[in-house]
């Protein structure tokens, strides 16, 4: 009896050692490449610093005070929220619909699967350039269509009223394939006997989708929503290439604003305050979302 308990104790100890050995490398990497930069951003946000000069002057919370009053930043945050909401509203249903379609048709849909996945394979920079030309107000395809029907030129990217929504559609074009594949993976995890059982019990395909496969996909959908939220709030690359936040900050996102402060205006301290502010905002939103989603489950 005694012997056994000391055995289990030793075993537990050994497990702990093994766990530590396996975890330390990952922890080190995270500490160096994630935790340290985050802390460093918070520290830098207390300085007036141009990013390369050797004299940094400590100004306390002045950058944060400026950030709270900065209309451009809050407008960028609002833009991020719009990107977030519309990304979920547009990308999730279409991605799910495509995945459902591909799941139904099986192998016959392989060609579609490959073609639909192509936008995901392109880099955001290439997509940005592609759409910059494709949407050109004088030579782009939207203008060409409008002219064909007797209309005038259509300026989607140079117009403060349309630029953000245009970016959102391009982002959707880019990311729908990702969610398609994500849901397809979710479908492949569903046991096939459930489908058979439902059919034997006389369910229609639409009943099966709404009553059975959708609830079973819930965990997949939840994680997709969280991914989409975090992705939208820190979105940067395509918008940077396509519009650089312009014209007149109309498509400015928090990340593009941070970038232009850090590397065009050479205000590294203020940019760090923006980065830290983003970190706080995104964390809060992500945590609240996860709470809400998980709370429903109980």
């Amino acid at each position: 009896m005694k012997k056994e308990s000391s055995m289990s104790l030793r075993r537990r100890k050994e497990t702990a050692v093994a766990a530590a050995v396996f975890l330390v490398p990952a922890l080190l990497v995270i500490a160096v490449f994630v935790i340290y930069p985050i802390l460093q951003s918070f520290i830098t946000s207390g300085y007036e610093w141009n990013g390369y000069s050797s004299n940094k002057s400590f100004i306390g919370l002045a950058n944060w005070a400026e950030l709270l009053k900065d209309k451009v930043f809050w407008n960028a945050f609002k833009n991020n929220l719009l990107v977030m909401v519309l990304s979920i509203v547009i990308q999730m249903p279409i991605g799910l619909a495509l995945a459902t379609f591909l799941d139904k048709v099986g192998r016959k849909g392989n060609v579609c699967k490959v073609i639909w996945f192509i936008p995901m394979l392109m880099s955001s920079v290439a997509i940005g350039y592609l759409f910059r030309y494709a949407l050109d107000a004088n030579t782009g395809f939207v203008t060409a269509i409008s002219k064909f029907f007797g209309g005038g030129t259509v300026d989607l990217l140079g117009n403060t009223g349309t630029v953000l929504i245009t970016c959102i559609f391009i982002i959707a074009w880019q990311f729908i394939p990702f969610y398609m594949v994500y849901y397809l993976a979710g479908y492949s995890g569903l046991p096939s006997d459930v489908h058979e059982a439902a059919m034997v019990d006389g369910a229609t395909e639409s009943q099966y989708f709404w009553q059975i496969s959708l609830p079973l996909l819930k965990p997949t959908i939840k994680s997709a929503v969280v991914l989409s939220i975090v992705g939208s709030l820190k979105y940067f690359d395509l918008v940077y290439v396509l519009t650089n936040g312009g014209p007149s900050h109309a498509s400015e996102l928090m990340a593009t604003y941070m970038y232009s402060n850090a590397f065009s205006s050479y205000r590294m301290g203020y940019a760090s305050a923006i980065a830290s502010g983003m970190f706080l905002l995104i964390s809060v939103i992500a945590i609240v979302t996860m709470r809400v989603l998980n709370g429903k489950e109980d």
Binding site: N50, Y52, I115, N138, T139, G246, P247, S248, S265, Y266
Partner: protein, 444 residues
Amino acid sequence: MRKMKKLAAGSLAACMFLLTACGGTKDAAADPGVSEGAGETAAAGDKIPLTLWHIQTGTMNDVIQASVDRFVAENPQYDVTVVEKQNDSYKSDLSLAINAGTLPDVFITWGGQTMYDYIDEGLIYDITDLMKEDGYADSFVDAGIAQCSYNGSIYAVPVENISVAGIFYNKDVFAKYNLQEPSTIAELEAVCDTLVSNGVAPFALANSTQWTGSMYFQYLATRYGGLEPFADAAAGEGSFENDAFVYAGKTIQDWVNKKYFCDGFNGMDDDSGQARMLFYSGNAAMDLMGSWFVSTIAGENQQFLDDDKLGFFPFPALDGSEADPSLCLGTIGDNLYCVSASSKDPEGAFHLIQSLLDDEAQTERTANGKIIPLKSFSSDNEVVNEVLDTVNSASGIQLWYDQYLPAEVAEVHKQTSQEIFGLTMTPEEANAELQSAMTSYLNK
């Protein structure tokens, strides 16, 4: 099934579109890749590595590469890597390199406050002695050397170009509507009205880039008030709310309302040449641009020059203004080549810069429409000579605001000038915002 076919056809079309687009980017990216690759293979044993960053495009890449190849052939102890940087992200690249301590041996700046900041930071090597050797500095135009100097020392070589902004126009379009080169702003507006009524956009402008539109603002302010309003405002003795800047903003908005600029200008980007396509095709008649425009066209559309379509006139005078109408907006040197203070072989790096202006390079540069800031420079290109005349008769040169001003104020200037163009701010609001940025910078 029918639906699927449609979908498939649609996606297929999209695909082909993508493929062609990808092909394009790849080609453009190939050049620097090749030169870097060549550098790597040559890296042998104890050669001294030198890295050079430049932002030239088109055929000028080849000219620079040829200069470097000659340099390496004569000085086989060096292994030179040439990196072609993109203009609009260059400042970010530089700041990242400074942070990482990987500043290349030779890099360019545009002068002005940003270069002075780098010098104060000890990032740029003092090349005064090297420049004075054999009177090398004396071969350059004085204004060029002045722009490369700070506190009595020389820190850069004005290699690229005498760049002043002026109005380039398509001669065919002017001939078609029987238009003459305007010499006053009122005449310019008359020309624009004629063009608009004929369905031609007067100005090609790609203002997503911001500095492009900012040149209109700068010229109009200079024509209204001369050099003083800006110099005073930048020194903290005047204000950007001065009448000159109000006039500039109001005129621009008036022109925007009269459709003087091509459709979609605020969404177009200069690096990707969207506005120039309109200019080449005759759908836009004029382009206010720096004189590097000649070499941009030479690299992009030589046919346009061969057909003698390109004309030039200085920015017109403002009636009733006392400001000297010969004042030019621009830079003598354009890209100033600096040697990094951290270079292991600053002298070698300096000689590398010199190779960019060796005899052969001078011939090639001249052929590419460059106006080299050397006293001995001459050209048989008509447009180039017109630009040169404009510079030589100028009583002063206003350095681009966005290079003269410290980076953070320059960004605000570019942003507010875009807001003026987009009609999203009144000139008064825009100028007040610029002034507050200037004040907060000066108060630091």
